[in-house]
Every structure is written in structure tokens, then in C-alpha cells.
Amino acid sequence: MATTEKEIVNRGALAHPDLTRLDDVNRDVLKMLTRPGKGWWMLFGAAAAGVGLFVTLWAYQMIRGIGVAGLTSPVGWGVYITTFVFWVGIAHSGTLISAVLFLFRAPWRQSIYRAAEAMTVFAVMTAGLFPLIHVGRVWHAYWLIPYPNSRFLWPNFKSPLVMDVFAITTYFTVSATFFYLGCIPDIAAARDRATGWRKHLYRIISLGWQGTDAQWHHFGNAYVFLAALATPLVLSVHSVVSWDFALGIVPGWHTTIFAPYFVAGAIFSGLAMVITLVVPMRKIFGLEAYLTTKHFDAMAKLMLLTSLIVFYAYLSEFFLAWYSGEEVERTAFWNRVFGNYWWATWTMLTCNGLVPIILWFKRVRHSIPALFIVTIFINIGMWFERYVIVVVSLSHEYEPFAWGVYRPSFVEIGILIGSFCWFGFWFLLFTRLLPPVAIQELKEVMPPPLRKKKSLEGAH
């Protein structure tokens, strides 16, 4: 095929003014992997301490019994499941940005998708812990995995919880693989610059990548297929998570809109979390050249869209509860807004429905501090959305005599905080050990260096 110089230049869909040479990218990105500063160590220390708290409380709960949580009858699921769904939701934007936007050739994804993917992997790692924390006998939790035991007793494949096990495991495996595959060339780049123990580490985990034509060729193809597989997976995972609830008969759970509603919510919260993480990262590592307002503007628009979908879902839930004429449904939703947990519901409506409205304004979308604050609100709001769905629905079911109120205990709150530290712990390690920005993909969109300032055909 004939390629003009113009094409080559135009490939740089993203203009990075101070980037002229390919190896500038290595220079800028790989410098992040040098000795961390005081700030990083403080953050890391805090995260490690939080992980300590996390582990201690969990151990305490295992020894005393799940009763140390505030869970009770009728509210058998509480903060733990809420947080599980929250983290699974967070996990979504990563694969969304890396896979879906890759397929759609969205020009602005290159510089953020590495961080987003890392976030995905760590978020799933965090989420995956919560079902274990939640069950009454975690030492038997492996019974949910189909393995040939002496009695050939298998899990119940009709149970949404088993679907969940498969969905989450698959999602973790695929996104982790996807993440690692994308990292390999950049690790090789790091290897070629690194010294000491890092060189040894990178030599091993770069699997001897050299960037030969054959490697690049298969790499590119495989990447497309993985993206094609990961895309429906993103949509399926949170659908399956939503069926954890929708397949129950609990009023407030048993509805058909849950799958799309949850997926939208997941992307919504995921994008919010990406911004929350990337804004400080950009400052600390001086990546202004790579993460421009252009990126934030694009993500803000996507958040605005998903926020509208989610808010629409809220409203349709209330409408359908009323329209059904079913006394049980009506009471359940009335109780949401005006019952014991009115504060949770109103937090959810405000943070996810009203606050994002200001994203209609370009000035907000282009002001990084403003975006940062908005995303904090959204993170809180989306946690409470899950809290409302899980807890409030359970507290008012069919049998009025058995209605009850659930109050989270200090153990649950501690483990919730601990989970953020556990997540931060891994993310901080990531920023120091792996190139947080995709080097090779950035180079793809840069104008390649040319000797003859004319078209390539000149050669022949």
C-alpha cells in the first residue's frame, strides 16, 4: 500500500508539543521508576498500615465469628457485599478504556489506559476478597469451586453465587493477562535502561522481549482478539453481579433492569475512580504532557452520559414500584426514600444524579480540581447506591413481623477502610515497578523520525 508522509504525521492523533524524539517518552516515563520520594513513602506507609488493620480485623472476625459484624436477620448482607459490588464496579472502566476504546480506536486512551488497567486488576483483587470476608465459614469457601471431591459433590450451577465465582475469576484472569501482555514491551524498555536488581527483575518478567517484527506482528493481532473477548466480558461481569440480586425474590432486587443499570453504574463509578487516581498521579510524576484536559474532558463526557443512565434507572425503579400496584414493592421503595435509611438513599440520589449535572459545563470538565471533587462525590454516591440496594431492600421484605434494622459494626467499617488501603498498596507499588504510561502505544501515535523529508516511496 502507498503511505504518504502526511499520513505518518497525521497518525499522531494526539499532539504532545514537547515530545520530538521517540526516546523522550522512555525518558519521561521511565524516570518514574527511579527512587521514590518522601511523599510516595508516606502514602505507601499509610496504605501498609491500613492493610495491617484490614488483616487484623478479618482475623478477629474469623476467630470470634461473623457475628462481630452488624449483620443480622433479616439483613444478612451488608457493608461487605456493598463494598464487593463497589469494587467490582470500579474494576470496569479499566477494561472499558483499554479494550472497548481500543476497538473503537478512541485516540485519547493511550496515556491513561495503563493506569486504568492496573486499577482494574487491583480493584478485582480487592473485590474478590469480600465474598470471602462475608461468608460465615470462610475455611469452607472453596466448596464453591467445582473440584472432584471424594463424594463427587458439585456446586449448584443454578445459584447466582456460583455464576459470580466464574464471572469474577474469568474477569480477573483475562484483565490481568491483558494488562501483562500490554506491559511486556514496556518492561523490556525499562529493562534496557535499568540497572541492579531491577534489571534482573525486568529481564525475567519481560520474557526476553526484543521488539522484533515477528513479536510485534503477533502481539498486535493477539491484542485485537483479547480486546474483542474482553469487551463483552466487561458488560457480562457486572450483569452477573447484578443477577446476584435480580435472581432473588427480594422486593427491590427482583427487577429486569438490573443488568444494564449495574453496567452503567459500574462504568460511571469506574471512570470516577480513574480520574480520582490519575489526577494526583499526573501532578506527582509531572505527566501534564501526557494527560491533557483533552483526556479529562472525554472521560467527563462519558461520566455524564452514564450518570444520566443511572439516574434514569433510579426513577424507573420508583415508577415501576408504584405502577406495579404490588403493596410489597410499594412499601419497599417508600421505605427507601422515607424509611430508616432515607439518608443513604438521598446521598445516592444527590451524588449520582444531581452533582454530575454540572459536568454539562465545559468549564467544569476542563477544570481538573473541579473534576477531582466531582469524582469524589460520585465515588461516595456509588457506594451508597449499592448500600441502598443491598441493605434497605432486605430490611423491609414480605413478612412485616420480621422487619429489622441493620447497623454496621466497627469491624465492617474498619475492613471497608482497609480495603481502600489494600487497593492503594498495590497501586502505589505499580507506579514504581511498572511503566504507568504505555510507552509503545504513545510512540505509535507520534510522528516517526524520517531522514528524507519526503514520502517513503522515495526509497524506491
Partner: protein, 179 residues
């Protein structure tokens, strides 16, 4: 800058040229192929000009993905069905084998197996992980440079050397690719 490490005419010796410019690389490759060489290229990023110059077609990775996906789907449907029949237990008045929930496992395992087999595919096809460390290699390839390597000996080696030189490489190395 390091120089040639192994003697000319040695076992499967070759020459490696590092270029600063994309077009030089592409030209070098094309001329080498005209002269009947089988050059190998290095680049800091996947560049379709180079692939084009080397005349790559579609990668066979797709086959791996397809096989993996189909195997996964089959397993995902068969396994729950078999376990249900292996020890039939009625729950909630549902049929012993109820397809709708099993479709989810079909899908999940399709994706899982598909993804894993793709990874295996790319590793196998692109000879990863490379056990033997390459000595004839320029670390700048992962930063900004392009490279072309040709394996030849004797007169053919000189011819290749000439073609590569014509494109003004930053540096050239010779010797066996692997120690």
C-alpha cells in the same frame, strides 16, 4: 560503541544495523528482500510500514483464539449439565438440568479459554519467553531506534553489509545472534 564480537564466516553469523529513521529502515528491508535476503527488523513500537515491507500477512493467532473459545463454550455447557445429572438434586422446583443459568457458564468459559489460548498462541508463535539471551542486540531498540538483522556468511554477508550501509545506520554489529 561496541564492535563486532564474533569472527566473520562463523556459524550462522549475521549483521545487525541500527537506524535512527523509519524510512531508512523500510528502505533497507526492501532492498535486502529484493536481493533475496530474509531480513529481521526491530522497532520500538508496532509499525505497519515495516510489517508491510516484510510482506506480513495475517497472524495465525486467530486460530488459537477460535479453538480456545469453542472448547470453553463446550465445557461451559457440558460441565454443569453433567454435574447436575451426576447427583440430581431438586432445588426450588426447578428442572434438574435448567439451561438458562448454564448459558452464563458457557459464555464465561468461552471468554476464559479463548483469552488464555490466545496468550499461549502468541507466546508460541513469537518464541516467547526467549530463553537464550541475544548478544547481537541494541538496547536502544526499545527506546528510539530501528534495526535490521540479516543472517548470511561469506560473499552474501558482504552484499548484505553493503545494502545496510547504504541507508546510513548509526552503527553496525556482526556475529552470531545467540552466543
Amino acid at each position: 560503541m561496541s564492535t563486532a564480537v564474533s569472527s566473520p564466516g562463523g556459524q550462522n553469523s549475521g549483521v545487525l544495523a541500527s537506524y535512527e529513521y523509519l524510512d531508512s529502515t523500510v528502505d533497507a528491508i526492501e532492498h535486502l528482500r529484493k536481493a533475496g535476503f530474509k531480513p529481521q527488523a526491530y522497532a520500538p513500537y508496532p509499525d505497519h510500514h515495516i510489517e508491510h515491507a516484510l510482506g506480513y500477512g495475517r497472524s495465525p493467532v486467530r486460530v488459537w483464539t477460535l479453538c480456545g473459545g469453542l472448547t470453553g463454550a463446550a465445557t461451559g455447557l457440558a460441565f454443569p449439565t453433567w454435574t447436575s445429572l451426576d447427583w440430581p438434586l431438586v432445588v426450588g422446583g426447578k428442572p434438574i438440568v435448567s439451561i438458562p443459568p448454564y448459558v452464563i457458564f458457557t459464555f464465561e468459559l468461552m471468554v476464559l479459554f479463548g483469552a488464555l489460548s490466545t496468550i499461549i498462541g502468541i507466546f508460541v508463535l513469537s518464541r516467547l519467553p526467549a530463553i537464550k539471551p541475544a548478544v547481537l542486540y541494541d538496547p536502544e531498540f526499545t527506546a528510539g531506534r530501528y534495526g535490521v538483522y540479516v543472517e548470511a556468511d561469506g560473499a552474501r554477508l558482504d552484499e548484505a553489509r553493503k545494502i545496510l550501509k547504504a541507508q546510513e545506520p548509526i552503527e553496525m554489529r556482526e556475529g552470531a545472534k545467540h552466543a
